[in-house]
């Protein structure tokens, strides 16, 4: 543990510091996904998890394969796909709110009016 701390304070930031940050972000997302009832909160948790995965792609690319761009493009396309997914999910949530006047998963026992 002590050599990890000295590594953190001298020299470049080690890779596991970045991975630890994305780990905390990912499992905060997992907790929110499991503990909230509102569909918008679940969507926010999914965004947190996707963002943590993006950080991992970029960090692995930068540390293990500098000069290549695979992880970079993976993160780029993941951001685009996350934006698509959010747009469609929010359209569905607004439609559900219009039909059921609530966005809680407990009230969602029918998808068809």
């Amino acid at each position: 543990m002590s050599d990890l701390l000295t590594n953190l304070l001298s020299g470049p930031v080690p890779i596991e510091a970045y991975l630890g940050v994305s780990l905390i972000m990912f499992f905060a997302g997992v907790y929110g996904f499991l503990s909230r009832k509102s569909m918008l909160m679940i969507l926010i948790s999914i965004e947190l998890m996707l963002n943590a995965a993006d950080i991992n792609f970029v960090v692995f690319n930068r540390y293990l394969f500098p000069g290549h761009l695979e992880g970079f493009y993976f993160a780029l396309f993941t951001i685009a796909i996350a934006a698509c997914e959010t747009a469609v999910a929010i359209a569905i949530i607004i439609n559900i709110y219009r039909n059921l006047t609530s966005v809680e998963v407990g009230n969602l026992d029918q998808m068809k009016e």
């Binding site: 990890l4 020299g11 470049p12 930031v13 080690p14 890779i15 596991e16 970045y18 630890g20 940050v21 780990l23 905390i24 972000m25 499992f27 905060a28 997302g29 997992v30 996904f33 499991l34 503990s35 909230r36 009832k37 509102s38 918008l40 909160m41 969507l43 926010i44 965004e47 947190l48 963002n51 970029v58 930068r62 540390y63 293990l64 500098p66 761009l69 695979e70 970079f72 493009y73 780029l76 396309f77 951001i79 685009a80 796909i81 996350a82 934006a83 698509c84 959010t86 747009a87 469609v88 929010i90 359209a91 569905i92 949530i93 607004i94 439609n95 709110y97 219009r98 966005v103 809680e104």
Partner: protein, 167 residues
């Protein structure tokens, strides 16, 4: 040294605000905390030397997605209303799941990845290089995913309009 300080500030912002985002009582506060997390992530990208990804993260996530979220929250929530959470038992179970996963993955990372901690110097990625690799068809060039993403975006626009329109 400046790099370490910036990293620790960004890491603290991400850790604190991502936990606040999933525990906040009001959903609009959750969205605001998520915005801070996304901005700090953009800062991490900048720290790693990927300037283009920084711009994309700010424009797409912190711009577009957050506007969508805030619109959706204002359309579906009465102001001042607290978010309902699951039963206490389920919340404890969710917290236990997250903590177990955190401990397991942290253990794996700590014992396996600490050998690779040096950072090789990397030349800045020029826009020219980026454009060539994004719009070429050779190996390590990404024209096909680029076009597939554009079709996916089109399908999403059409789908979102179809789903959310008034009948």
């Amino acid at each position: 040294m400046a790099q370490q300080i910036i990293f620790f500030v960004l890491a603290a912002i991400i850790a604190i605000f991502s936990i606040l985002a999933v525990t906040a009582k009001q959903i609009i506060r959750s969205a605001t905390y998520l915005l801070f997390v996304l901005l700090a992530t953009a800062g991490l990208y900048l720290l790693l030397g990927y300037n283009y990804l920084f711009a994309v993260q700010i424009a797409v996530y912190a711009g577009g997605v957050m506007v969508l979220f805030i619109f959706a929250i204002l359309l579906t929530n009465r102001p001042g209303e607290n978010v309902k959470t699951e039963l206490a038992v389920r919340r404890v179970a969710a917290g236990a799941t997250a903590l177990v996963g955190l401990a397991f993955c942290g253990h794996v990372i700590y014992w396996n990845i600490k050998k690779v901690s040096e950072l090789a110097v990397q030349a800045d990625i020029t826009p020219q290089q980026l454009g060539h690799s994004m719009l070429g068809t050779d190996k390590y060039q990404y024209l096909l995913p680029f076009e597939v993403i554009s079709i996916l975006l089109l399908a999403c626009i059409v789908g979102a309009i179809m789903i959310a329109r008034k009948r």
